[in-house]
């Protein structure tokens, strides 16, 4: 379909996880939306591992779902293997992870987007932006066509000035078999954006038929998973297993011998890769004493022969990759369907965006996903969703949609990003969320219900179901707090380690009389477990709230504030916090610096928080 000469409220550039959520949310909120992507056939593709969720990330997926986004629903349609992680730990740090069929995932996403009223998909490469009076007006495509846009959301992922490296050979492109985009980086730099370089990598894909499974260990999925979405019935189908094997000294020897041929180590790659998802070269160099590293073998789909070799992301030359893989038990005769490679790409440090994901420099221009220096499907989807929602709200002159750190992982993500100067791709961890005891994956739907209602992306029936459950949980908690047995209220009895809901029901006929279903009982039990800690954290939230009321005006000059220490001044000037609360979270800003800022602000004509 051609969009030449047409007008859209929102143009989304890129069809990855960020782009899909952005386009879907904006269109469903009433904006006439166009998604432009290099190839509409790869919309919704999982470029790297065939899995959604994981620790810290599964929480994001559940939150997107709670607000009406797509990722959880599509995952549940495409999942082939679910595992709840960290089950030996507390509920606040447990997360769901799903292995998915990549084809089904992408096709389900495409089907969903095509069926969305008000959303148009266009194949093309956006190479330039038209900006007038500090506001974006249109995007220009490589073929010379122009699409007028009131709001533009850039979700280019790893495609900007992208270079792929396999050993000594380098090719332009952001994903195997696809090209790169050059013009857009130039356009953004021309508009005053600061850019940086990051790197990511992907492991080899092997032919399933060539693997000797007898030399590996089977990892079984959970038998009766809940699934990700709160709005779909628990998925039930024939689950797939995956397999575990391990690298060894012989593997490591091959890597050491070839290290000088890895672009990362020979200095060819300028970008910085993540520490938490390192290449096998990195692992061997940084941890020379480890005698082996775990390798997960994950099939990329039900009918696919392609196996994702999770754990050996590499950019070594093809011959070295083959040699090292053959040292791993079970992979001695493995056939390569594709070699591993590293991608190096442009990103735009996210201190240049607001918490609405609108850029500070150009009105109406939003950035979301890997272009902001993050990594991960879930992080990308969360940003895309927030950018799409905010672009649509902004068009309708609505208030911005900003989640606080104590409300959602999505709030932590947005808040971290605007103060972030990433040296490596940003990834979510539960330890980034100081209020993680409240922000659990098990309560995402209840916790975000009010926001979901105001956004209106869920159906009335879906909202109603969540509301009923929320009220049920709350009234049960009240009841348990009220009833006392032996001088103790039932809630504190339920809080004891190892206590079960059955005990409480046995102790109180009134509670037994409620005949609660298992889902509610479980929710109440988990809430009870964390209650005292959550109260303490809420107190802290209230204490710090004062600070959020103190805002720095646009263009506030931190150099004018006397007495700040050098390090604090430098950070403040660079990261431009919006409120004293933001300033407090910047490393290097001390309580004394905060006092000075507060006093100085009072002398300025400070205005109430101008959100976004």
């Amino acid at each position: 379909m051609s969009a030449e000469g047409s007008f859209f409220d929102v143009v989304v550039v890129g069809g990855g996880h960020a782009g899909c959520e952005a386009a879907s949310a904006a269109a469903r909120m009433g904006a006439k939306t166009c998604l432009v992507t290099l190839d509409t056939g790869t919309v919704g593709a999982l470029s790297c591992n065939p899995a959604i969720g994981g620790i810290g990330k599964g929480q994001l997926t559940r939150e997107i779902d709670a607000l009406g986004g797509l990722q959880a629903r599509i995952t549940d349609q495409a999942a082939v293997h679910y595992r709840m992680l960290n089950t030996s730990k507390g509920e606040a740090v447990q997360s769901l992870r799903a292995q998915v069929d990549k084809d089904i995932y992408a096709r389900s996403m495409q089907k969903r987007l095509v069926a969305t009223p008000g959303l148009t998909l266009v194949a093309g490469s956006v190479e330039d932006l038209q900006v007038s009076g500090g506001r974006v007006e249109a995007v220009l495509l490589a073929d010379g066509s122009r699409i007028t846009a009131a709001r533009v959301i850039l979700t280019n992922g790893t495609f900007l000035r992208a270079l792929m490296h396999t050993g000594e050979s380098t090719a332009e492109g952001g994903r195997i078999g696809e090209g790169a985009v050059t013009g857009l980086s130039v356009a953004l730099e021309r508009l005053g954006f600061e850019s940086g370089r990051l790197k990511t990598g992907t492991p080899p894909r092997l032919d399933f038929e060539s693997i000797d499974l007898s030399r590996t260990t089977i990892q079984h999925p959970d038998q009766e998973p809940d699934g990700f979405s709160a709005f779909l019935p628990p998925p039930r189908r024939d689950w797939m297993v995956c397999w575990i094997t391990r690298t060894n000294d012989a593997t490591h020897e091959v890597i050491r011998k070839n290290l000088h041929r890895s672009p990362m180590y020979s200095g060819v790659i300028e970008g910085i890769g993540p520490r938490y998802c390192p290449s096998i070269e990195d692992k061997v160099v940084r941890f020379p004493n480890r005698d082996g590293h775990t390798v997960h073998l994950e099939r990329e789909g039900i009918d696919s022969r392609s196996v994702y070799v999770n754990g050996i992301s590499t950019s070594l030359p093809a011959d070295a990759q083959e040699e090292l893989v053959r040292q791993i038990p079970g992979l001695e005769k493995a056939r390569f369907l594709r070699h591993g490679y590293a991608v190096e790409y442009d990103f735009f440090p996210p201190h240049q965006i607001r918490k609405t994901f609108e850029s500070r420099a150009v009105n109406g221009l939003y950035l979301a996903g890997q272009i902001c220096g993050t990594s991960g499907y879930e992080e990308a989807a969360a940003q895309g969703f927030l950018a799409g929602v905010n672009a649509a709200l902004n068009l309708a002159d609505g208030p911005p949609f900003i989640l606080r750190r104590d409300e959602a992982y999505m709030g932590v993500l947005a808040d971290d990003l605007v103060r972030c100067d990433p040296r490596e791709p940003y990834r979510m961890f539960t330890s980034r969320a100081e209020y993680r005891l409240m922000l659990r994956h098990d309560n995402a739907d209840l916790r975000l219900h009010d926001h979901a209602r105001s956004l209106g992306l869920l159906t009335e029936a879906e909202l109603e179901r969540v509301l009923q459950e929320k009220e049920k949980v709350q009234s049960t908690l009240e009841t348990l707090r009220r009833i006392r047995i032996g001088g103790k209220d039932l809630l504190s009895i339920l809080r004891r380690p190892g206590a079960t809901f059955d005990e409480v029901e046995a102790a109180s006929p009134e509670v037994a009389g409620l005949s609660l279903d298992e889902r509610i009982r479980e929710r109440v039990r988990v809430d009870a477990r964390y209650e005292t800690y959550i109260e303490r954290q809420l107190e802290e939230v209230r204490r710090l709230k004062d600070l959020e009321e103190w805002c720095f005006a646009d263009g506030f000059d931190f150099d004018k504030v006397p007495g700040l220490r050098g390090e604090a001044r430098e950070k403040l000037v660079r990261l431009r916090p919006l409120t004293l609360g933001d300033a407090r979270r910047i490393a290097g800003v001390s309580p004394a610096d905060l006092s000075l800022l507060m006093v100085f602000l009072s002398g300025e004509k400070h205005r109430r928080k101008e959100l976004g």
Binding site: I55, C277, V599
Partner: protein, 453 residues
């Protein structure tokens, strides 16, 4: 609810008077708790004469307190202003009493901040307060730098790192189980916490050593009864400050007098009851009182009667409590009696010998006292910067670690909850050194573990 806070509102140097300010819910109640003589409630906005506790033994000093109820105070909340004697030990003692009542030391600018939040300060006043705070903070920055270069900051930093290491270790076990990272075991955590709490205790102990104030210098006079302490005191001040007689044990209560030292310094000299085994209740009480002063860490002039036998004097000197002896300077008295042997004067290294009656050796003694005090004064950058607020933070941190250890002893606490408690402890420590970044925890994790699939 505003947490009760307390701070000294006047500069922390000796002055006739000092002002202590409190703010927050319950601060009047905290005041009432440490003025036990006062039975009726204090009338708001009305200065009342009170006796306020400054020592754990129940010693009180006169003070004037004014209470303010919302909204008629500086901050708009419940608050108290107390005018107290300006002696630093007394001020410190009173602040400590408030801390025991659960009143936390205020952070810099916190009163002003509350006043803003309470809408009690207009912009012009705010700006003048701003100028004040700024000056204060610049001094604080300079002080902090000295601390940063000093041993104290090093120790606090080290303890902070140990806490963060433990947090990182626990966090790694939560966030990276997929990558085969195992968190620490319960007993490992318990022993780590034990070690960290002990390190904080050690640090708090060190603060007591460096407690002498450079500006409020005192020397204690001690020795056997009738060694001539009171006579020496009178000779030093040039008037009859203390009652003297030939009978041992004339002095029972400590007598304080200010002595001028060349070239213009001042020192408070305190004459204490003599060093002997108590035989009755009054003597016992006098000795206890003397020992309490002696335990305060201040320099001691130990008087030795030169008319006694050398062996006896040496035995007496060596029988002194080592902690007191370390701070003491021996002084031979009554040399006018002419019985002192040359060997006796040389036996005590400093060779100080005086006759308070004839004045022989007195100028040398005063000069020596001046030098000696200069030596004993702690150098800036050590104990002095160990402020009330910092002590408060450390004590709270220690308390919270003790609580965690008690929890662990009961058998089960889960890592994600433990981390909340430990981070809270760390943020109390971080308030001392001013560093608190969640990013650092991740950095520590990455430095230590091999992560990634």
């Amino acid at each position: 609810m505003a947490e009760p806070i307390v701070a000294l509102a006047t500069p922390p140097s000796p002055a006739p008077l000092a002002i202590i300010r409190l703010d927050g819910d319950g601060c009047i109640e905290a005041l009432m708790a440490i003025i036990p003589q006062c039975r009726r409630s204090l009338e708001a906005r009305h200065p009342s004469a009170i006796e306020i506790l400054w020592h754990e033994d129940g010693e009180a000093v006169p003070a004037i307190a004014t209470t303010f109820l919302p909204p008629g105070s500086f901050t708009g909340g419940e608050s108290v202003e107390i005018v107290v004697p300006g002696s630093p030990p007394i001020v410190r003692g009173i602040l400590e009493q408030f801390r025991r009542q659960g009143v936390r030391p205020a952070t810099p600018g916190e009163f002003t901040r509350r006043a803003f939040v309470g809408g009690k300060i207009d912009l012009t006043r705010a700006e003048s307060v701003a100028a004040l705070i700024e000056a204060e903070d610049l001094a604080a920055v300079a002080a902090a730098r000295r601390v940063l270069e000093g041993e104290l900051a090093h120790s606090i930093g080290e303890i902070g790192s140990r806490l963060l290491d433990l947090v990182a270790f626990l966090e790694a076990g939560l966030d990276f189980t997929e990558q085969e990272v195992e968190g620490p075991r319960g007993e490992e955590v318990a022993s780590q916490i034990q070690g960290i709490a002990a390190a904080i205790s050690a640090l708090l102990d060190r603060r007591r050593e460096g407690r002498a104030e450079p500006l409020a210098q005192r020397i204690l006079l001690w020795g056997r009864p009738n060694a001539g302490k009171s006579t020496l005191l009178n000779a030093l001040v040039g008037r009859e400050a203390a009652l003297t007689s030939g009978d041992p044990g004339t002095t029972t209560d400590p007598v304080l007098a200010r002595v001028l030292l060349p070239p213009g310094g001042e020192v408070d000299v305190i004459d204490l009851a003599g060093n002997r085994t108590a035989t009755d209740a009054v003597e016992k009480r006098a000795l206890e009182l003397s020992l309490r002063w002696l335990r305060g860490g201040e320099p001691v002039l130990y008087l030795l009667d030169s008319s006694c036998r050398q062996e006896d004097l040496e035995a007496e000197w060596h029988a002194l409590d080592p902690d007191i002896r370390r701070r003491a300077m021996p002084l031979l008295t009554k040399i006018d009696l002419g019985s002192a042997e040359e060997s006796l004067v040389t036996a005590f290294a400093d060779g100080l010998a005086v006759s308070a009656l004839s004045g022989e050796g007195m100028p040398e003694l005063k000069e020596k006292m001046g030098q000696w005090l200069a030596e004993k004064t702690p150098t800036a950058g050590q104990g002095l910067l160990f402020t009330e607020r910092q002590v408060g933070c450390l004590q709270q941190c220690k308390k919270s670690l003790d609580r965690i250890r008690d929890f662990l002893a009961t058998g089960s606490i889960e890592a994600e909850l433990l981390v909340v408690d430990l981070k809270q402890s760390h943020s109390l420590l971080a308030e001392v050194t001013g560093e608190a970044t969640p990013e650092r925890i991740l950095d520590l994790i990455f430095a230590r573990f091999c992560l990634g699939k």
